[in-house]
């Protein structure tokens, strides 16, 4: 299949809108304040987020959507990842695709009803104030009313900027959700890119031995490897999004995107901490936020065994 992987004007416009909105309204620095954790910052600007029209982006117009596709949704998901936006916002993009009836779909598109993600056999993430939960089981994803689930708030988890509610009992099975797989990959790509940018910016300004540390090959090559990993994951994710539903093997494309996005996000988040040296180990520096979020986000959706099976079939 021959593809043009460069965003067209409309796609760039969508991306620019969301990127500039998030930079103004939900910068990563917000997470230094515990009052913004658990999706609280997103809740505070929820009506503005709804006005962007993100949640029906990939649904056909007759279903109340904008009639665009997975490539546009992937650009949004990548932008959300760059700012470590609460996964609830990403789940809100996915939930309308899983809605069983028109009324549910409409309220999810408008943002009147809110959704959260849950990790299979695990936890609802940032569930406060939500009505629906996108859950993953052996067969894929499904949309469950929050009220139907038995939930127990935990004291927290690896990522201290999120809340984790334990799901008591299984969450059931669902439909194959390759679309969501691609969007999770895109969010992780956002992390891989943001950490590359952060390390490069620091390498340009931090001086030791009388010069910016980025002039030293040890740092320069690490940054080049970060950019290369991010590029591999990014292009594979956008490729998977672009050819989605066009008759190729969506399961294999999505699995490759997840495998690469995981490695890029985790490896780059770690390299970013290392590039920042002592500062990178502090709570004050944002570097650790990316690592923690990447590790949690990678637990969403399909498990590694299923991806391996798809890729080696």
């Amino acid at each position: 299949m021959i593809v043009d992987l460069i965003p067209d004007e409309d796609q760039s416009a969508i991306e620019d809108t969301i990127v500039s909105f998030l930079s103004d309204v939900l910068p990563v620095e917000r997470l230094r304040d515990a009052a913004n954790h658990g999706g609280a910052a997103e809740t505070a600007v929820w009506s503005q987020l709804c006005e962007l029209g993100l949640f029906g982006l990939g649904l056909p117009e007759e279903q109340g959507g904008l009639g665009l596709g997975l490539p546009e949704e992937a650009l949004v998901a990548r932008a959300l990842g760059r700012k470590l936006v609460s996964p609830g916002v990403l789940s809100q993009l996915c939930a309308p695709h899983l809605a069983a009836d028109e009324a549910t779909r409409d309220t999810l598109i408008s943002g009147e009803a809110r959704a959260a993600f849950a990790i299979a056999d695990g936890y609802v993430l940032d569930g406060a104030g939500t009505d629906w939960v996108v859950v993953f089981g052996p067969g894929g994803a499904s949309l469950r009313a929050r009220g139907e689930l038995t939930l127990a708030m935990t004291e927290g988890g690896l990522d201290h900027t999120m809340t984790f509610e334990r799901i008591e009992g299984g969450a059931g099975t669902g439909q194959p959700a390759l679309r969501i797989e691609v969007l999770i990959a895109a969010y992780l790509v956002g992390i891989a890119q943001a950490t590359t940018d952060m390390a490069v910016d620091y390498a340009k300004t931090r001086e030791q031995f009388g010069q910016p540390i980025g002039a030293f090959q040890a740092i320069k090559h690490s940054c080049a490897d970060m950019a290369t990993r991010a590029s591999a994951a990014d292009t594979q994710t956008l490729y998977a999004a672009t050819v989605f539903g066009a008759g190729g093997d969506d399961a294999v494309e999505a699995a490759a995107a997840r495998v690469l996005a995981k490695r890029a996000a985790l490896d780059n988040a770690k390299a970013n901490i290392q590039t920042h040296g002592g500062m990178g180990f502090t709570a004050e520096c944002d570097a650790h936020l990316f690592l923690k979020r990447a590790m949690v986000m990678d637990m969403l959706g399909s498990d590694a065994r299923a991806r391996r099976a798809a890729l080696t079939a």
Binding site: V3, I6, P212, A255, T312
Partner: protein
């Protein structure tokens, strides 16, 4: 981001597929020496006769004049049909020829381009020197102007298939008062000229794919200068705009095929594959898919930009490193049987693949270029 399909492109694909199915050589390609060179030239002549030679060359110089997307389709079908590497024709088709097209005068174009396309003469490259590898601009081979001739003294190395080539694109220092990129000249060197000795170099893979060239007062007519005297760096760089990322499509597909082959071999081994092996294979499979996507992205950029940027180094770095991982994986996954040099010959592929992270720019130089020209990091210690 969108799928680009059209009836014309589909029809072009059919044309490529049909012609390749009928014409790709069935006999194996000799792996060394004159039999290999003759095979490569014969295959070039066959493509010329079929109207496929110089797929990316302009029509006015006898090429196919294919669009970027048609080139992509050609290379995809070429790889799927098991087309042989361009081998001894690579430099002619991808560097020397394009340089002549962009910077040569009409006389030079008329003399040298047709014999490349029809497979009668092949070229090699004389750029690197023992003391000028990654730091190419420090090259020292002298070209002194005497009357209407250049007199060459010095040595060139890593000349791929140099002992098998008819002509050479030679980069020499004509202004000894200048340093680095200034004072260089790009000239056409006759590989049969008196005073030129070519010694083959045996590689770690056991083959003689390189040579070192020694120039002892080799005389070259001044009319063989391409571009201006002392402007050779500019001439050498003009081909950058020719590269649209399609040249590596065949390598990328070959590597993907290799991964599929290892997956099959591991899974069909007694006892099958365990989860750790499957994870290793899944990662390699994902990586060759990423390479395909990165190549597609490079080609996409070529559709929108006049001259490609330094981003090509990202794909080249990824390809070089991934090729080594893929070819090493067989030994980790298949055990002792992979050591035997019969059948699929894993050792041959493994030993040969080291060149991809060295030739045309080492991985380390590529990381420098990505750091400085893509990411904007400060330059390291200045070259003098």
């Amino acid at each position: 981001m969108k799928i680009v399909e059209s009836a014309e492109l589909r029809e072009f694909r059919e044309q490529c597929r049909d012609w390749l199915a009928d014409n790709v050589p069935k006999q194996p390609r000799p792996d060394d020496g004159e039999p290999m060179r003759d095979f490569d030239l014969a295959w070039q002549a066959k493509q010329f006769a079929g109207g496929w030679a110089g797929i990316n060359w302009p029509k006015e110089y006898g090429g196919r004049g294919a669009s970027v997307l048609e080139q992509l389709i050609w290379h995809e079908e070429y790889a799927l049909a098991g087309g042989p590497p361009s081998g001894c024709m690579f430099v002619s088709l991808s560097h020397a020829g394009p340089t002549l097209i962009v910077s040569g005068n009409e006389e030079q174009k008329a003399r040298y381009l047709p014999t490349i396309l029809n497979g009668t003469e092949n070229w090699c490259q004389g750029f690197s020197e023992p003391g000028a590898g990654s730091d190419l601009a420090s090259l020292k081979t002298r070209g002194e102007i005497q009357g209407d001739e250049l007199v060459i003294k010095g040595t060139k190395i890593w000349t791929t298939y140099g002992q098998l080539a008819r002509w050479q694109e030679l980069l020499i220092r004509t202004d000894p008062g200048e340093t680095r990129h200034r004072g260089l000249t790009w000239v056409i060197c006759d590989m049969q000229a008196p005073g030129l000795e070519v010694r083959p170099i045996r590689t770690m893979a056991g083959l003689e794919h390189f040579a070192q060239c020694f120039y002892d007062d080799v005389r070259i007519p001044l009319k063989n200068v391409v571009g201006e005297v002392n402007q050779g760096w500019k001439t050498a760089m003009t081909t950058l705009g020719f590269e649209r990322g399609t040249g590596t499509v065949a390598h990328q597909i070959e590597l993907a095929t290799r991964v599929d082959r290892v997956i099959e071999a591991v899974k069909s081994a007694p006892g099958g594959a365990d989860e750790a092996q499957l994870e290793m294979l899944a990662v390699l499979k994902s990586e060759v898919m990423a390479l395909r996507s990165m190549t597609a992205a490079s080609i996409s950029r070529g559709l929108h930009e006049a001259v490609p940027g330094a981003e090509g180094n990202v794909v080249a770095l990824y390809f070089g490193e991934l090729t080594r991982r893929v070819n090493a994986a067989a030994f980790d996954l298949l055990g002792p049987h992979s050591l035997e040099r019969s059948g699929y010959d894993y050792p041959a592929h493994f030993l040969e693949c080291f060149k991809w992270a060295i030739g045309g720019g080492t991985s380390e130089i590529r990381r420098n270029t990505i750091g400085e020209r893509v990411l904007g990091l400060p330059k390291g210690p200045k070259a003098v």
